[in-house]
Symmetry: C2
Subunit: 234 residues, 2 copies
């Protein structure tokens, strides 16, 4: 058992992109709706609205669950793609695609293995209802679902990272954040958490591979959640 595997008690996971394939799942559902748009481009446009929309909410000191933010962005993106006449029922159904995202092929096995040695939880900006539906659909074996909604703050607010430690009465250095995004990990590290990068080269689709180079600052670098489980002795 390595020193780090011995010290960590809780592993919190970023979810969108890290545990589930939002791009492939959204594009697939959009394609199935036969809307006459490029499904991959639509998925990217929807997701591109996410960071600015959250930043705006946080700046105003408001709190809005992600389902509602997704809907605001969706209505705008539908307009941009010339789909202003999409009926309300279809908008509502499409907006919940984020509850139905598929896991990456290694996610369920990797999480199941880690669960045998650690408390594993989500730490996602997705709301609790979204994450619960997703876990049920995808078979994600969380010990506990934690969300920005628990803290009324989105990541990267420090209260989210420190909130995981506080929830489990753990010191920050007993908690590890696992994510496919170096910036998320950097914010967690600044709060005293350990960090594990997960390579997800096709988060934005097979046509847009992303740089998954290791950063020295991270505690661990993993090619998958199964690889992380192996490194953590599970």
């Amino acid at each position: 058992m390595t020193e780090i595997a011995d010290r960590i008690r809780v592993i919190a996971f970023d979810v969108f992109g890290t545990v589930v394939d939002w791009h492939g799942s959204v594009a697939r559902e959009v394609a199935a709706m036969n809307l006459g748009v490029d499904p991959a481009a639509f998925a990217l446009a929807w997701r591109a609205g996410y960071q600015p929309a959250m930043a705006e909410v946080m700046q105003r000191g408001e709190w809005v669950i992600l389902d509602d933010l997704h809907r605001r962005i969706l209505d705008r993106v539908l307009g941009e793609f010339g789909l202003d006449d999409l009926p309300e029922a279809e908008r509502q159904h499409l907006n919940l695609v984020w509850h139905r995202l598929d896991p990456w092929p290694d996610s369920v096995e990797g999480l199941t293995r880690l669960k045998s040695g650690y408390t594993i939880c989500s730490l996602s900006n997705g709301n609790i209802g979204l994450l619960t539906d997703m876990a049920k659909n995808a078979g994600l074996p969380w010990d506990c679902i934690l969300s920005a909604e628990n803290f009324n703050k989105y990541k990267p607010h420090p209260e989210t990272y420190l909130g995981v430690a506080k929830t489990f009465a753990a010191a920050p250095e007993q908690v590890m954040l696992a994510a496919a995004h170096h910036s998320d990990l950097e914010h967690a590290r600044n709060c005293g958490l350990e960090t594990a990068y997960i390579e997800r080269p096709f988060e934005y689709g097979r046509e847009k591979p992303k740089n998954v180079a290791a950063w020295d600052a991270n505690t661990l670098h993993s090619t998958s959640i199964i690889d992380l489980a192996q490194q953590m002795g599970c």
Copy 2:
């Protein structure tokens, strides 16, 4: 499928006494510590401090997680049992017995069956960390852990019952509370939730059987969680 089984989307469970046997588990650990006290009486005294302590916190408009409340009560009860000299490490360990409570024999099978047809969650005054440890120890297959800590209010505050519905974007009548306590169910019913009573005649020990007679006001009356699963078509 009955009308009620068809309408309900979420079943929220009271936990202490309903899903897990707090009396038997606490008494067993106290007995194993050889403190020279009556373990059953000690468990009852500790639990008896719970309602008044919560009421006091709510009256002051404060928020304290149950682990901390349990500790305050424990320190007082230890004094009452002449154990003022119990060392700090043993107090800390004993206080966490509530994280290690055993399920009733039907709980895991009953919840597993209900999970196939409904979203199942806890709705307990236990804090999230406590409920997570308990689920891990006891194998409780929650889709989601919800706690008074999500709402910064203890049951029976209406925000806790209505908070379950809000979390899952459900109407109150699409949510059922399952509990071994008629008063908990009555408060849930006043918020528009459906209710299922679970008989737990030995919640206070085999020597103190409790009245588990049905109340007409409840939607369902069950002899166990397996019986509830059967009634709900799972």
